[in-house]
């Protein structure tokens, strides 16, 4: 146990290192730009104390090349990291709070609601929205995602109370079907925008800017802080609502808080990146297979591994069929599924 206790920070530190390496790799790939090896140097020389007057790192990158790194590649890498971390954290939290390995915030309608919101804006306002000062698609998608989960929660809670989390999951299934049906109906009557909506649904990071990063940050930071604070409660909830209550945990309140926090983060990243599937479901399980099932470890690792996973998945997404892009959602499934199966298998053999 002593070793195990020490191993927890080690794994977190290790995963942060991996995240940094992956982020550098993300910044190094792409068309145009300077030689790949100059890029980590260019980033390092701008950290106070490492560049001019400090350690004297000099990358020899021109202003134009730097702007490719900083204004085009970095926002994309950072956004991919934030989106991956938030989806994965949301998935781990939902799995904990519902004691169900197959749920993530998408299950209660965060994705379907966001998709419906985007569809409605794209069909009703159409390309006129490009003249608007602010693109309304992310905002409406965000509100619809939150609204759908709220309705699911109210419906589920009014029938099953907080005693049975399965009622909530079933209410989620019903709400997802309903929202998807409405979306299909709208699309079927507006077949000219199907392609545009479809592109949104598949998820994209190509248009990422620092603006997007700033837009999602408040929600993501809030959601992450709340979920990190509740990781011990998630461990107690593993013995069930009854026993957790008998141990003095306010189960209903903890569940509501965690669901609200995870949904807020997920809705925010869905709004800027579309529906990137698979991350929330599988990254937490990868983490469990690598570091054990205690939420004390799973929650922080879900953040770092989720971020690294999506940055990594985005690299083939933009290089494989360059200059066209492979949708990120497709890549996450392509990389994630086999990796997950291998991990599952090695774990079973070693047990």
């Amino acid at each position: 146990m002593t070793e195990q206790r020490r191993a927890i920070p080690t794994k977190v530190v290790l995963s942060v290192l991996v995240l940094v390496v992956v982020a550098c790799a993300g910044a190094m790939t792409g068309p145009a730009g300077p030689d790949w090896w100059r890029i980590p140097l260019a980033l390092a020389e701008r950290i106070p104390g490492l560049g001019e007057g400090g350690l004297g790192i000099a990358s020899g990158v021109t202003e134009r090349e730097w702007s490719i790194i900083w204004d085009i590649r970095m926002p994309r890498v950072v956004l991919a990291g934030i989106v991956g971390a938030t989806l994965s954290l949301g998935g781990a939290s939902y799995q904990g709070v519902f004691r169900n390995p197959l749920v993530d915030p998408y299950l209660l309608g965060a994705a379907a609601g966001g998709g419906l919101g985007a569809t409605i804006v794209i069909t009703t306002i159409g390309s006129d929205r490009l003249d608007w000062p602010v693109d309304p698609v992310p905002l409406i998608a965000f509100l619809f995602a939150l609204g759908t989960v709220a309705v699911t929660y109210l419906v589920g809670a009014s029938f099953g109370g907080m005693r049975t989390s399965s009622t909530l999951v079933l209410a989620g299934v019903a709400m997802v079907s309903l929202t998807t049906a409405i979306q299909t109906f709208i699309l079927q009557r507006n077949s000219d925008v199907v392609r545009e909506v479809y592109n949104w649904i598949l998820g994209r990071l190509a248009t990422a800017s620092w603006g997007d990063v700033v837009l999602v940050s408040p929600y993501v930071v809030l959601s992450t802080a709340v979920l990190l604070f509740h990781r011990r409660h998630l461990d107690v909830l593993r013995v069930g609502d009854e026993e957790a209550t008998a141990l003095g945990i306010p189960v209903g309140r903890v569940r509501l808080t965690v669901v609200v926090a995870a949904t807020l983060g997920t809705a925010a990243v869905v709004a800027v990146s579309g529906l990137i599937g698979f991350v929330g479901l599988v990254v937490p399980h990868m983490v469990r297979l690598m570091a054990g099932s205690s939420y004390r470890v799973v929650i922080p690792l879900a953040i770092t591994v989720g971020g690294a996973f999506l940055i990594l998945a985005d690299i083939p997404g933009r290089t494989l069929s360059s200059p066209a892009e492979v949708p990120i959602g497709v890549v996450t499934a392509f990389i994630g599924a086999p990796f997950f199966i291998i991990l599952l298998r090695t774990r079973q053999v070693s047990r």
Binding site: M1, F229, R232, D235, V236, R238, V239, G240, E242, E243, T245, A246, L247, G248, I249, P250, R288, G292, S293, S294, R296
Partner: protein, 259 residues
């Protein structure tokens, strides 16, 4: 050492009254056995003490009402072992016992060195070192039961509620579990209230018995008083012989219907 006093406890599920006007004093450090046929209200009674069901009336611990205490204070007074505890397959024995410290950790707090030392101590005293590092999913029924008791002990609660704690165990492990609880009761002065199926075991370990029938106490007192063939025939609807051993043990033997 803490005594428990029930004052006119009533529990209703919808319109059905599950426990009716239950009043009783359980002296500190004693063992009260709750017996009665299925559905008599034994589990509900325990669940109300643990704060899991709403009730009217009162439960007094050490002179003040349980319902006036905070959630975690209540949890640090009363440890509850349910009939079918949930043991997550991938959790280790030690992590599981550590959950018993929950009532002592603040909302945003984390287990301290003291909490961990306490858990190590409980594990050592119960001889669970061998299984503490293993995952719960690979343990046997008896090992799991001992970890559940260890978790209850880690709460340091003076009152232990056991809901048919051994119904899934074979006779040897049943005895081991009860012997363990009895040892802990004597060492720590725990007050034990347990619902029990096996009448002979109930008679062996309890100081006093309460027989419930449809939510009402129909007989209570010493083991000899409650475990009589007539009473059991009336409320369980069984034909039994009650046999008294020389050492005072009361043995309840079911009889076949005579054809």
């Amino acid at each position: 050492m803490s005594s428990v006093e029930f004052q006119h406890l009533n529990v209703e599920y919808g319109r059905r009254t599950v426990v009716r006007d239950f009043s009783m004093v359980v002296p500190a450090g004693s063992w009260l056995g709750l017996i009665g046929p299925n559905g008599a209200g034994k589990s509900t009674l325990l669940r109300s003490v643990a704060g899991l069901v709403k009730y009217s009336g009162d439960v007094i611990v050490d002179g003040s009402s349980l319902s006036l205490r905070s959630r975690s204070r209540r949890a640090s007074l009363v440890a509850y072992v349910p009939q079918e505890p949930i043991l997550p397959d991938e959790m280790t024995g030690r992590e599981y016992v550590l959950l018993g410290r929950t009532p002592h950790i603040g909302y945003f707090g984390h287990p301290t060195k003291n909490d961990r030392a306490m858990v190590d101590d409980v594990i050592g005293r119960l001889g669970l070192d061998g299984i503490a590092t293993r995952e719960l999913g690979v343990l046997s029924g008896g090992e799991r039961q001992r970890l559940v008791i260890a978790r209850a002990l880690a709460t340091e609660a003076p009152i232990l509620l056991l809901d048919e704690p051994t119904s899934a165990l074979d006779i040897g492990h049943q005895q081991q579990a009860f012997e363990l609880v009895e040892r802990l009761r004597r060492e720590h002065g725990l007050t034990v209230i347990s619902a029990m199926h096996d009448l002979t075991l109930a008679g062996m370990y309890s100081d006093r018995l309460a027989l419930l029938h449809e939510g009402t106490v129909v007989s209570h007192g010493s083991v000899e008083d409650v475990l009589s063939a007539e009473t059991l025939a009336e409320f369980y609807g069984v034909r039994v012989t009650v046999h008294r051993e020389a050492d005072g043990t009361v043995v309840v033997i079911p009889r076949r219907e005579q054809l």
